[in-house]
């Protein structure tokens, strides 16, 4: 089972049970997983019991930033389980392609990998600003720069070698 977490306004996920342990959550955290129609308090998810620290509950702190309506917990639960995320549910950060950016910088001679590194940085910074769409775009553009770097690197190197051999006296 994969979970999405909103802890003190910070969203993360998807994570599994081990990941939840690592996030060092408190009972103020909110959880969503496929099958739930909306965010629930972590204390209402029995299978996660013991994976978070139980703390005193200030009235307002820990309220998730999203969804905007503040009454999901009071609403009657949707009887039909849903497998799509509710409105405003956190989306995982799109891939930064950082590994590929580094590999292409080191191995492909065209410095296109550097552009891919810049886009990797954009993905996380936009995601952290809450601009999911921007993060997705940066992720895609960055991936294209990696591909361009690899293809141009593979194509251009033999060509250059041939030119050098043919221009030798």
């Amino acid at each position: 089972m994969q979970y999405w977490i909103n802890h003190n306004g910070v969203q993360s996920g998807p994570v599994d049970a081990d990941g939840i342990k690592e996030l060092a959550l408190t009972s103020r955290a909110y959880v969503w997983h496929p099958g739930l129609s909306d965010w629930v308090k972590i204390t209402q998810v029995p299978e996660l019991e013991g994976l978070y620290e139980v703390v005193d509950e200030p009235a307002t702190v820990g309220q998730p930033l999203q969804p905007q309506n503040t009454a999901p917990a009071q609403q009657p639960m949707n009887s039909q389980p849903v497998n799509t995320q509710p409105e405003g549910a956190p989306e995982p950060c799109p891939p930064t392609n950082l590994v590929w950016a580094i590999i292409t910088t080191v191995l492909c001679c065209l410095p296109a990998g550097i552009v891919a590194i810049i886009y990797a940085m954009k993905v996380t910074s936009k995601y952290r600003e809450g601009d999911i769409e921007g993060a997705k775009r940066a992720s895609e553009v960055g991936a294209w720069w990696c591909i361009v770097s690899i293809i141009l690197g593979i194509l251009s190197m033999p060509l250059i070698s041939l030119l050098q051999v043919s221009s030798m006296p």
């Binding site: 990941g19 930064t96 590994v99 080191v106 410095p111």
Partner: protein, 124 residues
């Protein structure tokens, strides 16, 4: 099934490439491609010397590998840690988040650019 096939293929290609780079020295052999950026501009790119460095590394000569491309030697452990974090993303979300933090990527970028500049000034 398909995933296994892809993994086996990738490992096979890596083994073949590894053997080629272990057996032949790019510094003396002409079968290896030369850097396009260097050929066109006359300046080294951040990745120049990686092939010789890999050859040196596969033959156990870490010091020589550093001499050919020191940045690659820094990048290798970075790549390994990033791949590990990627595969453990749902299990260790914080490791992934920290490695992909803008500040850390920015530091790597600065390192690459500084390396690029300095190696062309001091002929590293």
């Amino acid at each position: 099934m398909r995933r296994t096939l892809v993994i086996v293929l990738v490992i096979a290609v890596l083994l073949v490439l590894g053997f080629i780079y272990y057996a032949l020295d790019p510094a003396t052999s002409s079968v290896f491609p030369q850097c396009t950026f260097l050929s066109i501009t006359g300046y080294k790119c951040p990745g120049c010397g990686s092939q010789r460095a890999i050859h040196a590394l596969l033959n156990g000569d870490v010091k020589e590998a550093f001499g050919y491309n020191a940045m690659m030697m820094v990048a290798i452990p970075w790549i390994v840690v990033c791949l590990f974090a990627e595969s453990q993303r749902t299990r260790r979300p914080r490791l992934y988040q920290r490695l992909n933090a803008p500040l850390l990527i920015w530091l790597f970028l600065v390192m690459v650019l500084a390396w690029w500049l300095l190696r062309n000034i001091f002929d590293w």
